[in-house]
Structures are given as structure tokens and as C-alpha cells.
């Protein structure tokens, strides 16, 4: 295959995956949008927030989560750059950092759930804790999915750049950034506001 044709094929494939991934992310966005809609409805129809004399959840842990996930996105971008230029060392470093921060995010979330329990917020304690647990659970479940999909990129750390795998790297990246964005919206809507 000559170079021009090859470039054409790659471009075509990337366009295809861009379309597919866009549709998929719209679907995921609708899932989280609905959940946040539920949250907002409860929030706006409740006279005092938090209801039933419950305490607000302190901002510390969610803020740490937000920072972690934001930085991990930056690391993934660097990984993608290193992949395109086939720099194995950089790829490994940035992949490790992304993965590490992803796991770190999960640890902070676990700590968040623990701290909520210590505050006396239990899952079955009414709509307020229900919302915080369920929405963070569902987001965390997607983070786990994203971490698993990161594992599919591990062979790249040894074999380096491969044009057939560009779309893999890009798709995983889009999903990762998307979850970061969703978390940021959740952080603002649920914890800050």
C-alpha cells in the first residue's frame, strides 16, 4: 500500500470512529443528564437544603477528586502525543501516571463514601443521601469501565505506535476526558452549589 492511500485509510477510519464515539458519548451524556435532572428536581423542590437537618458534605474530598481527574486527563493527552510520535519511555510514564491517578480517584471516592457514613449519611436515609450515593456510584462504575478500557492499551507500551490502534487510543481518551467533564459538572452542581 502506498503512503497516500495509507494516510487516506487512517483518516477514513478516524472519521468513522469520531462519528461512532460522538453518538456513544451523547448516549452517556443523556444518562448523566437525566440523573442530574433528578438531582436538580429534588434540590429545587425541597424548601431547605440539605433537608431533614442533614449536614452538607464537606468540599475537601470532592475537590481533591476533581483535581486528580483533571490532571489525569492532561497526562492522558501527553500519553496520546507520545504515542503518535512513538516515544516508548514517555508513553509508559504518562500511561502509568494516568492509570495511577485513575486509581487514586477511586480511592478518594471510597474515602468520600466512608466519610459520608461517618457523618451519619446512610444510603437508606432519605432522598438526600440516596442522591449523593447513587450518582457517585454510577459515575464510579463508569470510571472502573474506563480503567478497564485503559488496560486494552497496555500492549502499546511494549509495541509502540501502530496505525491500526490510533482509534483505540483516541476512543479511550475521549471516554476518559468525558468522565472527567461529567465529574466536574457533578462537582459544581452537587457539591459546590
Amino acid at each position: 500500500m502506498n503512503k497516500a492511500l495509507e494516510a487516506n485509510q487512517i483518516q477514513g477510519k478516524q472519521a468513522v470512529h469520531a462519528v461512532g464515539m460522538t453518538v456513544l458519548l451523547v448516549s452517556f451524556a443523556m444518562l448523566f443528564a437525566t440523573l442530574l435532572l433528578g438531582y436538580i428536581v429534588f434540590r429545587l423542590t425541597t424548601d431547605t437544603w440539605p433537608p431533614q437537618g442533614l449536614a452538607r458534605i464537606p468540599l475537601t474530598l470532592p475537590t481533591i477528586s476533581t483535581l486528580i481527574i483533571g490532571v489525569s486527563s492532561v497526562f492522558f493527552m501527553n500519553f496520546e502525543k507520545a504515542f503518535m510520535t512513538n516515544q516508548l519511555g514517555k508513553m509508559r510514564a504518562f500511561f502509568g501516571l494516568t492509570m495511577g491517578l485513575g486509581l487514586g480517584f477511586m480511592l478518594v471516592q471510597l474515602e468520600l463514601w466512608n466519610s459520608m457514613k461517618e457523618m451519619g449519611l446512610w444510603v437508606s436515609g432519605g432522598a438526600y443521601p440516596s442522591l449523593f450515593y447513587s450518582l457517585t456510584w454510577i459515575h464510579a462504575a463508569h470510571i472502573v469501565m474506563a480503567l478497564v478500557s485503559l488496560l486494552f492499551l497496555v500492549p502499546r507500551l511494549f509495541e509502540g505506535y501502530d496505525m491500526d490502534r490510533i482509534t483505540w487510543v483516541q476512543n479511550v481518551g475521549k471516554f476518559w476526558h468525558f468522565l472527567g467533564l461529567v465529574w466536574f459538572v457533578m462537582y459544581i452542581v452537587m457539591f459546590v452549589y
Binding site: V23, G125, G126
Partner: protein, 575 residues
């Protein structure tokens, strides 16, 4: 325009790779077809049990009653009745219509009609079917749980669907099954949309696509956007049932906190109203094509039909409140929803007029697919018109939750889609299996079904207008409904007729696929869309050479035709 050229598939060799875990969109389509027909049978028998109970309360269901309900001597018990109408609705909507129209024909038609060798993501396609399979197994398994399957209606409103309304694993499994099916359909939708965007044959603009593809594509868009909304609602319902959250529990039902049962209704109908169009759009598209094919005329205003379907798709997302007029919405909201809902009748009227315009002065032939399509025109007209009474707040307050609603949505969603689905099966049979279904049996099938379904759904509207509530086990304990027994008996006999009619189809279908020797020709209906340019049944790779499209899908009787036929293949140039 194709973004890239797909490679030619190698022919699968083993039984497993050919028939079970196939990547081929045509095989996956057939898998969905069998899956849908199986569930259509199960849902149909459930419908007959419901009807039997309404016409002959307290009498044993014939033949299989004693086997199913030994403790009551064959009579359908009240709690089972609730389970039956819940599962009937769920099965018909999500496990029969969706797989047949969207799963089977979506898969089969999209690549063939746009000149592609397969879906753009074949693996995703296979996963989509097998997830649907898992979901079906879970749903059927729920029938065998100690307290029976879900019984909160197909809408599963809380608090009926929470642990207070329905304890036991049945409702949880129902919710889980639907969630998984949602994932499966979303996967399908991603695949359909991407395929339509990137794999159209060179020369094929969006308006050169057959209207079937338009219908299926718009359905896929709605699926991709709104199934996750239902998914979110179902997740929260599962959390309520399994983890003890209290989203949908309020008042005395909740030990603490302030959940909101109405929230589920909002979420359900934000999804649920588009779902109505998810089901009907493929049938509209298919019928729009078939009417033109058999009237031997170009589809009248094909572009307008496509755009009307598109505007309905958009409008369908902002009208969901008309399902909830009785939930104490503010009058400002109900009136807005009423106005928006009424707006849908404009594009509907446009494409309906286009259908009539298509057959007007055509040299109409009446093979089975065409009479089924004409049947759709009739029943959809009726269903659409009766919708106006339900869209209007004042009349809906009276008709809400009566059999009038049941009659209306069966005319639109069940009758139209069923007839549309059959039209598609009869029409694409030669391309799917390489053989033609028997025409005589097909005509008998149509007329019996058509008479039966009109008896059923017209009868339902009459009893509903008289005030009969849906979902009552034995309505005749109420004095004012006693006089409706004869009408209900008539409806039940019509339903039995409709049930019997399906045997003609099953016999025809099974005989043709497994025993009939005579092969169909490549283009038995003499139409010009891309799937008819290749041999019957379609080969594994669909198109040896990717076709180049030079004209529209319905060029009949065009003075610029180049051959001596009255139609032209899409690969041929007009003068």
C-alpha cells in the same frame, strides 16, 4: 459517501461462526427476527389470556389453563392477571416489535440499501444481539420466581414497582432485563447511525436513500438519545429496590426522606414518548417505500416525507407531558404540552397525504406486502385520529386510563407496526432466505389478521369510551360496566380470530424456509433499490463491487428511464 472501503468478508466455515456468533449483519438480522417472532408468540398468548379473562371471568382458560394455573382449576388468578398485562406490554414493545423492526430489518436493510458490505462495527453488532438474548433470558426467568414476574404495568410506576408495591425478585429482574436491553439497543443505535453516515455508497446522498433507511436512521437517533434516560430511571429503581435508596418512595411509604414517585413518570415518559416513535418510524419508512414500489409510481413528495418524519422525530422529544395530564401538572404546562402534541399532526398529515398521493392513479398491484402496507395506512389513520382526543386535556381527563387509550395505542403502535413488520417480512423474504412466501396463505393471513385486529381495537375504544378502566381484573363487578360484557366477548372472539390467523403465517414461514425447494429470482418485485441488484439470498459480502449510485430509489415510470423496464436500478443513470 463511503469514508473507506470495507474488505470482503471471508465465508465463515463452522456452525458456530456461521449461525451463532456471526458478525454478518444479515445473520444477526435473522437472529433478531427469530427472537422477535418467538416473543411475539409468547406475548400473543398472554394477550389471549387477558382477553379470555375479560370476556369469560371465572372460566378456565382453554387447553393450557389447567396446566398453567392448576390451583384455580385453570382460571387466571387476579395477581397473575396483573402480571400478564405487564409482561404482555413489556414483551410486545421491547422484545417483539423492537427486535423485529429495528433489530431484524434495521440490521438487514441498512447496509444492503446503502450499498455497504456490512455494518461499520460488526463486533458491536454481534454483542448487541447477545446482550438482547441475555436480557430475554432474564425476563423469561422472572416468570419463574416465587412471587411471579413484574406486575406493575409496562410503565412500572412507583410505588407499584417499588418493594412496597411488588416485593419479590420479579420486578427487580424486569428492571435489570430492560436495562440490559437498553444497552443492547444503544449499541445497535451507535452502529446504525455511524453506518448510515459513513458507509453510503458513492453517489448516494441522504435523499437518495430509500425511506426505510430514513425511518430506521431516525429511530436509531431517538434510541441513542433517549434509551439512556430510561436507563437512568431504571438504575434508580434498581437502587431503590436493592440498596434501599428512596428516590421514588414518598409519604408513609418511606421510612424517612422525601422521594418523589412522579419523578419516575417524568423520566419514563421523557423516554416513553420518543419510544412510541422509535417503534413506528421504521414501519412508516418501510410502508412509504412499499406503497411506491407496488403502485409503480415515484413516492409522492419523498423529500417531504423524509423531512416530515424528521420533524416528528424532533417534536416527539417535547410532548411527553401528555401522558401525565392527571398528575396535577400546572395548567400552563398541560396546555403547552397539548399544543405541542397537536403540532405533530401537521407533519403526520403531510406524510399521510403523501402516502395517498403515492397510490393515487398508480397501477397498483396487490401482492401480500402491498395489502399489508395498505392495511398500515388504514390503521395508522385511525390510530392517529383517535390520538387527538387523548392529546386534548379536556377529553383526556375523562379518557385517561380507560380502554380507549389501550385501543388508541394498539392501533398506532401494535396494529401499524405489526402489519408493517409483516409487510417487510413478506417483501424481503426472497432477499433474506432466497424463497418467496406463499401468496394465497399470505392473503388469508392478512384478511383474518386485519378483521381480527380491527374488531379488537375498535371494540376496545368503544368499551373505553363507555368508561371501562384498563387493568381491572373483573370490571363486571361494577354495575355500570355489566352491560359491556357482550362487547368484551366480541373483542375476545376477534382476538381469537387474530390469534388463529397467525398460524397461517407460521406455517407459511416455516414451510418456506425449511421445506420449499423453489428459489426466488434476484428481483421478484421489480424494484430498483440496491439490495435487488445482487443475488437472492444476499451473498456474505453483499456487493462484489461497491455500487455507484446514480438515481433515486423510486424511479418508476420516469420518462427519462434508459431501459425498457418501468423501473430503474439505482446504479443506472437516467437520461
Amino acid at each position: 459517501m463511503a469514508f473507506f472501503e470495507q474488505h470482503i468478508h471471508s465465508e465463515p466455515k463452522t456452525f458456530l461462526s456461521k449461525y451463532i456468533f456471526s458478525y454478518d449483519h444479515k445473520v444477526i438480522g435473522k437472529q433478531f427476527l427469530w427472537y422477535g417472532i418467538l416473543f411475539l408468540g409468547i406475548g400473543g398468548i398472554m394477550a389471549l389470556m387477558i382477553r379470555w379473562t375479560l370476556a369469560f371471568p371465572g372460566q378456565a382458560f382453554p387447553i393450557i389453563g389447567n396446566f398453567l394455573f392448576p390451583e384455580t382449576g385453570g382460571v387466571v388468578p387476579p395477581d397473575t392477571y396483573a402480571m400478564l398485562f405487564t409482561m404482555h406490554g413489556t414483551i410486545m414493545i421491547f422484545y417483539a416489535i423492537t427486535p423485529i423492526l429495528i433489530g431484524a430489518f434495521g440490521n438487514f436493510l441498512i447496509p444492503l440499501q446503502i450499498g455497504a458490505r456490512d455494518m461499520v462495527f460488526p463486533l458491536l453488532n454481534m454483542l448487541s444481539f447477545w446482550l438482547a438474548f441475555v436480557s430475554g433470558v432474564i425476563l423469561l426467568a422472572s416468570l419463574f420466581t416465587p412471587l411471579g414476574a413484574a406486575a406493575g404495568g409496562w410503565t412500572s410506576y412507583p410505588t407499584l414497582s417499588t418493594l412496597i408495591g411488588s416485593p419479590g425478585a420479579g420486578q427487580t429482574l424486569w428492571t435489570l432485563a430492560l436495562f440490559i436491553l437498553g444497552i443492547s439497543s444503544t449499541m445497535g443505535a451507535v452502529n446504525y447511525i455511524t453506518t448510515i453516515i459513513v458507509l453510503r455508497a458513492p453517489g448516494m446522498g441522504y435523499f437518495d436513500m430509500p425511506l426505510s433507511v430514513w425511518g430506521l436512521g431516525l429511530t436509531a437517533i431517538l434510541n441513542a438519545i433517549f434509551l439512556p434516560v430510561l436507563g437512568a430511571g431504571l438504575l434508580l429503581l434498581i437502587f431503590d429496590r436493592v440498596f434501599g435508596t428512596t428516590f421514588f418512595l414518598a409519604g408513609a411509604a418511606a421510612t424517612s426522606g422525601t422521594g418523589d414517585p412522579i419523578l419516575f413518570q417524568h423520566v419514563f415518559w421523557i423516554f416513553g414518548h420518543p419510544e412510541v416513535y422509535i417503534l413506528i418510524l421504521p414501519a412508516w419508512g418501510i410502508v412509504s417505500d412499499l406503497l411506491s414500489f407496488f403502485a409503480r409510481k415515484p413516492a409522492f413528495g419523498a423529500k417531504a416525507t423524509a423531512l416530515a418524519m424528521t420533524s416528528i422525530t424532533i417534536l416527539s422529544t417535547v410532548v411527553y407531558g401528555h401522558h401525565m395530564y392527571t398528575t396535577q401538572m400546572s395548567p400552563l404546562l398541560t396546555q403547552s404540552f397539548m399544543t405541542l402534541t397537536m403540532t405533530i399532526s401537521i407533519p403526520s398529515a403531510i406524510f399521510f397525504a403523501n402516502w395517498l398521493g403515492t397510490i393515487w392513479k398508480g397501477s397498483i398491484k396487490f401482492p401480500t406486502p402491498m395489502i399489508f402496507s395498505l392495511g398500515v395506512v388504514f390503521v395508522f389513520g385511525l390510530g392517529g385520529l383517535t390520538g387527538l382526543y387523548l392529546a386534548t386535556v379536556t377529553t383526556d381527563l375523562y379518557l385517561h386510563d380507560t380502554y380507549f387509550v389501550v385501543g388508541h395505542f394498539h392501533y398506532t403502535m401494535a396494529a401499524s407496526v405489526l402489519l408493517g413488520g409483516y409487510a417487510a417480512v413478506y417483501f424481503w423474504m426472497p432477499k433474506m432466505f432466497g424463497k418467496m412466501l406463499n401468496e394465497t396463505l399470505g392473503h388469508i393471513h392478512f384478511w383474518l389478521t386485519f378483521l381480527g385486529l380491527n374488531g379488537v381495537f375498535m371494540g376496545m375504544m368503544i368499551v373505553g369510551y363507555a368508561g371501562m378502566h384498563r387493568r381491572i381484573y373483573n370490571p363486571f363487578v361494577y354495575e355500570f360496566l355489566e352491560r359491556l360484557i357482550p362487547m368484551n366477548t366480541f373483542v375476545t372472539y376477534s382476538a381469537l380470530l387474530m390469534g388463529v390467523a397467525q398460524f397461517f403465517f407460521v406455517i407459511n414461514f416455516v414451510y418456506t424456509i425449511f421445506f420449499k425447494k423453489e428459489k426466488a429470482s434476484d428481483n421478484p418485485w421489480e424494484v430498483g433499490t440496491l439490495e435487488w441488484t445482487i443475488p437472492s439470498p444476499a451473498p456474505v459480502y453483499n456487493f462484489k463491487e461497491i455500487p455507484v449510485v446514480k438515481c433515486g430509489p423510486h424511479e418508476f415510470g420516469n420518462p427519462n428511464l434508459t431501459g425498457d423496464r418501468d423501473f430503474q436500478y439505482q446504479t443506472e443513470e437516467l437520461v
